[in-house]
Structures are given as C-alpha cells and as structure tokens.
Amino acid sequence: MVKKKVLKEHFNPDNLPVLGSLGILALGDIGFEAWRKVKEKKNRSEIDEKK
C-alpha cells in the first residue's frame, strides 16, 4: 500500500535513497532531479571502483 510521508520534512537532496521512492517522485522536478543526481553519483562511484 502506498503510504504518505510528510515530504517537506524528510527531503534532503544529499541523502536520498538510490532506489528512490514515490514520495520523492511526488515532490516533482526538484525531487526527481535530486534523485537522478544521487543515482548518477552512485553509478560513477561503481565505475570508479571497477577501474
């Protein structure tokens, strides 16, 4: 079941789960762009680790 969260209080662009959440998507452009950055950062670090 989709559970509601108080988005404002929990949103910290530097500390988002890599898997994301509906709460982050519901935040719209700000949440989405921040989450993509977290994913990209993780991808980069994985590539760096492999190197």
Partner: protein, 842 residues
C-alpha cells in the same frame, strides 16, 4: 504576483466510489482539504465517453460535433495514414487561445490532445512530451512540436522519466508482492512502470512551471488513474468470482495506490500555489468498480470505454468559492464557460455549457458574446504549415493499441483509414444521440449501413438505431432492426434479450417481455436485468414482487438513482408513503436534478399530508425539465389548490376549470359514451369529431368519434387540437393520452353484462350468450383505469352511471357541469336523453 489565478487539474477516470473510502481512511488528505475548503459534486460525462473528445469539450465548452475531436485517432490531412488525435482536429478555439487574445498567460501540461503545441502566451508541454517507448529500455526522442516555446526544450527534456528508471521502491507501494509476479505471463509490473514514469514526467513539468513561471491559467492532465483502472480494476476488492485468487492478492491494492499517489502529487502542487489561486480538480468520467466490471471485453470500437461510469468528480476551492458545499448538475461543457466567467470574460453564445454560478460566493451575471470563433485578432492558432506536417507518433499509437482503445492497425493503410473514417462517423452519430438530435444521428447511421463496406460489422449501427427507434416510439422499426442483428454474424455479444424485452414492453406486451427477462436472469443476474423485471412487475400491478426484485437490483448497484426511484414508485402503490419518500430522497441524493425522483417525493409527501414540502418537491420537478415532465406541473397545481382550500384535504375531483382542458368521454364500447358526447355538444362544449362514422340503428344520434383516436397508441401528437373541446376515447386507450395536457374524464359506467349483451346484439350475435373471457377482460380494463387515474396528476375523472343518465338526468347534468367547470346549457343537455334507446337490459 498575479491575482485571480486558476489551476485546472484533470484526473482521468477519477471516481467518488474509490475516493470517499480513501478519504475516510485518511489516505487522500490533500483532496480532503480542498473539499473542506471548497465545493464538490458529480461531473456528468457525455456520449460516447472517449477521453480526448471529453477533455476537448472541457476546454472549449462545446460538444464534439462542434469542436471536431471525435475519437482517439484521426486520418492525416493528406489522407495517407492515421495517427493519434492532435490539436489539428479541433475546429474551435480553446480557453488558452482566448486567454492569449486577452493578454492572459497560460501554462498547459499534458492536456489531451495538445500536440502539436500551439504558440500561446505561456508554455505548452503537450501530451506527447511524456510518451515513452514500447521498449522500456529505450528513451523516446522529443518531437519539435511537443513543447512551446521550443527554446525551452533544454529546461524540460531532462524532466522526462522512463520506465527503465522505475525501481522496486516505486513498485512495492502499488504491488507489495511484486516479487511474486510471473513477469513472463503477466505484464502488470511493466504497465505500472510505464504509467508511473509518464505521469511523473507530467508532474515534473507541472511543478517546474508552478515554481518558476508567472501565469494566469494553468491546466495539468494526468491519465494515471484511468490507466491503472483499465489494467487493475478487475483485481480491486471485492474479488470477482472469475478472478484468479493469486493475481487478486498480488494486485488488489494497485488501483487505490494510484489514487493515493495522485493525492501525494496534489499535495505538492498545493504547496507551490498561493492562497489566492483557485483550484479545480475534475475527471471526465468515472470507472465501474462494482459488480458491473467487465472481464470479457467485447470486440467493439474503443471497448475499454464500456468500463467508464457516467459520473466523474468535481472539486473547486479558492478565495471566491463556497466552502464545504455539494454542487449539482455539472457537465463537462460547463467548465470552460465557468473559467471564462472566473476571469471576467464573456461566454460564447455558441458554447453548449453554462456558467456554474452555484460554486461562487459572490458573482456578477455572466456576460456573453456571439462567438469567440468569429472574433478577430491573434488567438495563437497553428498555421497551415504546422497543420500539414507529419505528426504521426508510433509510441502513442502503440499505447492506444495496448490499452485496447484502438485496434491493431491493418498493414494496408487504406484499410486503417477506412476503419478510422467509419469509427469517427459512428462517434459523431453517437454524439448527436447524446444531444438528442436523433434525426441527424439516424442519418449518419443509415449512411454507414448503406455504404456497405466490406468486413465492417454493421451490428453497432443497428443497435444504435434500435435505441433511437425506441425513443421515437417507432417500435415496429426497432423490432426490424433487432431481427437484422439477431440474424447477423456479429461477433459482439450484445444482450439482445434485454433489447427485445424493451421493445416488447414498449409495444404493450409486458408478459412476453417478462418471460424473456426471467430466462435471461437465470444466467445474467445483473442489476439491469433485475431492474427491468421489477419495472415490468410494477407495470403488471404485481407490486410486492416488484419491490422484492428492485431491492435485489439495488443490492447489486446501490448507486443507481433510477433503481431507487423505481422502488419509490412501487411503494407509493403499496401505500408505504414514508418508505417511498426515503427511497425518493436517496435517488435525489445520488442525482439531484432527477425530475422523476422529486415528483415521487412530492407524491409521497402529499399522501403524508405534508403539502408545503410536497409543493417544493413538485416545484423542483417541474423546474428541471418542464417540457419533458409535465406531470410535475399538474401535481404542483393540484397541491396548490389543496393548500388554498380552507377546508383542507379534498380528493382530486375538486371541479375547477383548467385552462385549455380537454374533456374526454370514455368507457367501454356501448356504455353510453355517445349520449354523453351529445349532451356535452348540446350543452355548449365543442366536439372534436370527423363524423366519419355515420349514425346507424345502434346509435341513431351519432357516434361523435374521431378517427385519429383509433391510433392514439402510436401517435398522440395531435391531442392539442382537442384543447377546450370534448373527445371520445375508449377505456383501453386512455393510458396513451399525452400527460402534458389537463384532462377532465367523464367515465361512463354501465353494468358489464348489459354492455356485453348490447355489443353482441350490435354485431349480430346471440345477446344471451355471454363470453366469459370478454367479461373478465372488461373488468380488468376498468380496474386498470382506476389505477391509472391515480398515477396521472393531470387527470380528473368522474364516474357517471348510464342508468343515472336515463333515470336521474338532472342530477347527472349538474354533476357534469360542475365537474367540467364550464357554464353549459343544462336544458339542452337534458333533452338529449331518449329513454326509448335503452333497449338492452341485463
């Protein structure tokens, strides 16, 4: 910061039946807050309920025959192929064109259809912006016409989400057991990935515009709820017997999940607007969530739309909007006029909708112009070059095919073009049916049949012709069309039994209709079939059974206002007035502007002696559809008369002259109707007669008949000729009198044995042999007249005994004169009675 802003949010297919329980559980707090601070109500959809045409009606205030968007797909202007519907099909100006002309700034996100984007003052993120590739791993390129202004593309292109970005964290809230889904055989998870990613793209663009742009009007459209419902409503509780238990357990929370996620998105948008902004949230139709859910989709054009329900939602909140009130009688075409009025702009007289004045705290009377379409100036419309460009879109087309709205295109484009043209013409016919323009609808349907295209199933056109014929009371024609469908090789599983029963009912053969429906009930125990059976039982006077069956129908479909009204009607006959009033009130609660329910409430209250409230109910009923529901007007007059009468309650025969009344003389044949006609004639009331039937030995002073009466059951339109006159109508035909007129019926009673004897004699048979069946049939007819007169508020009926005419003539004459309310020549009336003609005695 601009004042008086208006944000219009479209939630395709949102339905109160799902929303109210979620609000009660605290799962849609954003919408709950808006309702508490604003108004809410049902939004009535249109025919046919196809979303692109409905959303275009929302922003134009016009019906689809006027705005031109007639389906999901269209033929390209060069007639070489077909494509998903675009703005180029629209042939009238939308709200944003008008706002552009008036110097207002609009933002548009995802509106269906809004591609190609029009060059308005503001930003258009068209419906193509969010569309994803059918291969979830691929990104879709963004077309040049998907955004206006195009130089903003870099700001928005990275806001598009793709299905391959969806993670388990996004899926689990909808499908907590997502890991149990057999993805080889069930495409549920990939469907969710596509829907959620596309709607997130729309939401991202909307929130960006809300945060960063200045605007007056903004419209955002989401298809999430509709698409979740089409994919997962079958798994929504309560479980349907045919649904696999495992799939039910896995997907049962998907539909409610989509509503909750939509509410989360709403909460965010509310954070981004100021308190001076007015918000409207609405859907274009509802979605079946009960016993009527369709599991075996028929093979008809846009079949999934059969799952759409008549009522969607409407919520409005803002500084000048009333608080926590329910509003009634809303239609999709009312939204554009209401929004124009909000901005102080005039409404085009060519718009079909009206301003919903009820929602405003304070407001001025609406202003009007002839048409926005004939106004000169810049309306930011697309130029011809843009119109003729190729706007085909493989992804959108594929999505429409996947959803079942569009059939897989034929490899030969000429076949696809032909099918599309036929579908659009059929849709246009159905639009006219919805508008009650039956002659135009019929013309299109007959043209479609006469085109005799190969491989085209004609059954849907005939089924529509059956509906039209029934409305127009052309029952023989309806039967002919039904026989054509019955003998056709259509693959569509229509409920032809229901259609046949309806035709038989209308043809006055209720017992045959009942037999068919009772057989149908054995395997299709639907609310609709039960309702029809209940109505027939009522018609046949089997009230207790009617009540039981209608209660079963209500158990199946408790939201049907017509079902509640039907049971109220039955309860009135059972003298259960309080319960009748309760059912009528429930019916009104479901559909406020339902004249029959108000009428029944008035009848129940009148019987309970509450004349004040009965008057209010009749007033409401007569106001809603005065032309279509004349009984309410007559009841209102009756109840006012009762209230004015200082003596209090009197029965219906209060003997008052009614303007343009028709005096009917009725009875069984040979009951003395001709002598009464003669008395009225000599007394001074004009007679409507053609004198085609000449006097004879049986009736030497004339019959006073009028030939059209014999076909009254087929055509009663001529009855206006009888206003302020008298007319002879035999008892069995009384029920076909047009209820829009006021009737004073003088019903001649005579011993039935005498009547039958007299008839036997007249036709040269032995008068001493009494046919029992005829005797019983006449008795039944008399009983039916007695019941019928009680149901007809426009009818006053006076029984006159034939023997009294002969033996107490003066008394009868006084009674008749008083009853008609007309000053008549009593002496002349008395002289008409010739006792020598009383030759047949029992």
């Amino acid at each position: 910061m601009k004042k008086n802003k208006l944000l219009l949010i479209g939630w395709d297919a949102a339905d109160w039946d799902i929303i109210w329980p979620l609000i009660v559980q605290g799962k849609m707090p954003a919408l709950k807050k808006l309702i508490k601070n604003g108004v809410y109500g049902n939004m009535s959809t249109m025919t046919p309920p196809y979303s692109p045409m409905l959303w275009t009606s929302v922003v134009t205030g016009k019906t689809p025959d006027k705005h031109g968007v007639l389906g999901f797909i269209e033929v390209t202007p060069d007639a070489t192929t077909v494509r998903p519907v675009t703005t180029t099909s629209r042939k009238t100006r939308a709200l944003w064109n008008i706002f552009h002309n008036q110097g207002l700034k609009s933002n548009l996100v995802g509106w269906w259809p809004s591609f190609p984007a029009e060059p308005i003052n503001g930003t258009v993120i068209s419906d193509r912006f969010s569309k994803t590739h059918r291969d979830p791993k691929k990104q879709t390129p963004m077309s040049e016409f998907a955004i206006h202004p195009w130089d903003k593309k870099d700001e928005f292109k990275n806001l598009r989400m793709f299905p391959f970005e969806i993670t388990e964290a996004h899926l689990y809230p909808f499908v907590p057991r997502a890991h149990d889904v057999d993805q080889e055989n069930h495409k549920g998870l990939s469907a969710i990935a596509k829907i959620v990613s596309e709607n997130t793209s729309i939401h991202n663009a909307a929130t960006k515009l809300l945060r960063t742009s200045d605007w007056d009007f903004m419209a955002v459209y989401y298809d999430m709820i509709d698409h979740f419902c089409h994919s997962f409503m079958k798994y929504h509780p309560p479980k349907l017997p045919a649904i696999n238990q495992n799939n039910y357990e896995i997907f049962k929370e998907a539909v409610t999940g989509s509503y909750i996620f939509q509410d989360m998105m709403l909460e965010r948008k509310m954070q981004l607007i100021d308190k001076d902004t007015t918000v409207i949230i609405m859907s274009d139709h509802g979605f079946e969530s009960g016993a009527n859910r369709i599991l075996d989709m028929p093979k008809v054009q846009a079949a999934p739309s059969l799952e759409h329900r008549q009522f969607g939602i409407f919520v409005a909140s803002g500084p000048n909007i009333k608080k926590n009130e329910k509003v009634f009688g809303l239609g999709l075409i009312d939204i554009a006029p209401t929004i124009l009025h909000h901005f102080g702009l005039p409404i085009g007289k060519d718009m079909d909708g009206k301003v919903i004045l009820d929602i405003f705290e304070k407001t001025e009377p609406p202003k009007y112009i002839e048409s926005w379409d004939t106004e000169s100036g810049d309306f930011a419309e697309l130029n011809n070059n843009q119109k003729s460009d190729s706007l085909s879109d493989e992804e959108t087309m594929q999505q429409l095919i996947d959803l079942g709205y569009v059939e897989k295109l034929d490899e030969k484009y000429e076949v696809a073009i032909k099918k599309t043209r036929i579908d659009l013409k059929h849709n246009l016919a159905r639009v006219h049916m919805g508008k009650k323009d039956f002659s135009i609808a019929k013309q299109y349907l007959i043209e479609l049949i006469e085109e005799e295209e190969k491989d085209v199933d004609l059954a849907p056109f005939y089924m529509d012709l059956i509906s039209i014929s029934l409305t127009e009371k052309a029952f023989d024609q309806a039967k002919n069309y039904l026989e054509i469908v019955q003998s056709s090789d259509t693959k569509i599983k229509y409920n032809l039994e229901l259609a046949e029963a309806q035709i038989l009912t209308e043809m006055g053969r209720p017992r045959e209709a009942l037999k068919i429906l009772e057989q149908d009930r054995e395997w299709r125990n639907s609310g609709k079939v039960l309702f029809r059976i209940g109505k027939l039982k009522y018609q046949l006077g089997e009230y207790k059974e009617a009540r039981n069956i209608l209660e079963l129908a209500i158990d199946k479909e408790p939201q049907k206002a017509t079902f509640h009204a039907a049971i109220a009607e039955v309860l009135l006959q059972l003298n259960e007035y309080e319960e009748a009033a309760e059912y009528a009130l429930t019916s009104i609660e479901l559909v406020k502007y339902f004249p029959k329910a108000h009428f029944l409430l008035g009848q129940a209250l009148e019987k309970l002696g509450d004349l004040e409230n009965a008057k209010l109910a009749f007033e409401m009923a007569s106001k809603i559809k005065p032309k279509e529901f004349p009984k309410a007007k007559h009841s209102l007059e009756n109840v006012i008369e009762k209230m004015q009468d200082s003596l209090g309650f009197k029965d219906k025969n209060t003997f008052k002259y009614h303007k343009e009344q028709i005096v009917i003389v009725s009875g069984l044949p040979r009951s003395g109707t001709s002598v009464m006609m003669q008395m009225l004639h000599k007394g001074g009331i004009d007679v409507l007669t053609d004198e085609n039937r000449k006097p004879d030995e049986s009736n030497p002073k004339g019959y006073y008949e009028y030939d059209p009466v014999m076909t009254l059951h087929k055509n009663n339109k001529w009855l206006g000729e009888a206003k302020n006159k008298s007319l002879k109508v035999v008892a069995p035909l009384l029920k076909f009198l047009d209820p829009k007129y006021r009737y004073k019926i003088i019903f001649m009673n005579r011993d039935i044995a005498e009547i039958v004897k007299s008839q036997q004699k007249m036709i040269g048979k032995n008068p001493d042999v009494l046919p029992i069946t005829l005797f019983e049939a006449y008795q039944k007819q008399l009983n039916q007249v007695d019941i019928w007169k009680e149901r007809e508020p426009g009818v006053e009926l006076l029984y006159v005994n034939y023997n009294d005419v002969l033996n107490h003539t003066m008394e009868v004459v006084n009674k008749v004169v008083s009853f008609t309310g007309v000053d008549m020549e009593k002496d002349a009336m008395i002289k008409c009675v010739d006792k020598s003609l009383y030759r047949t005695k029992a």
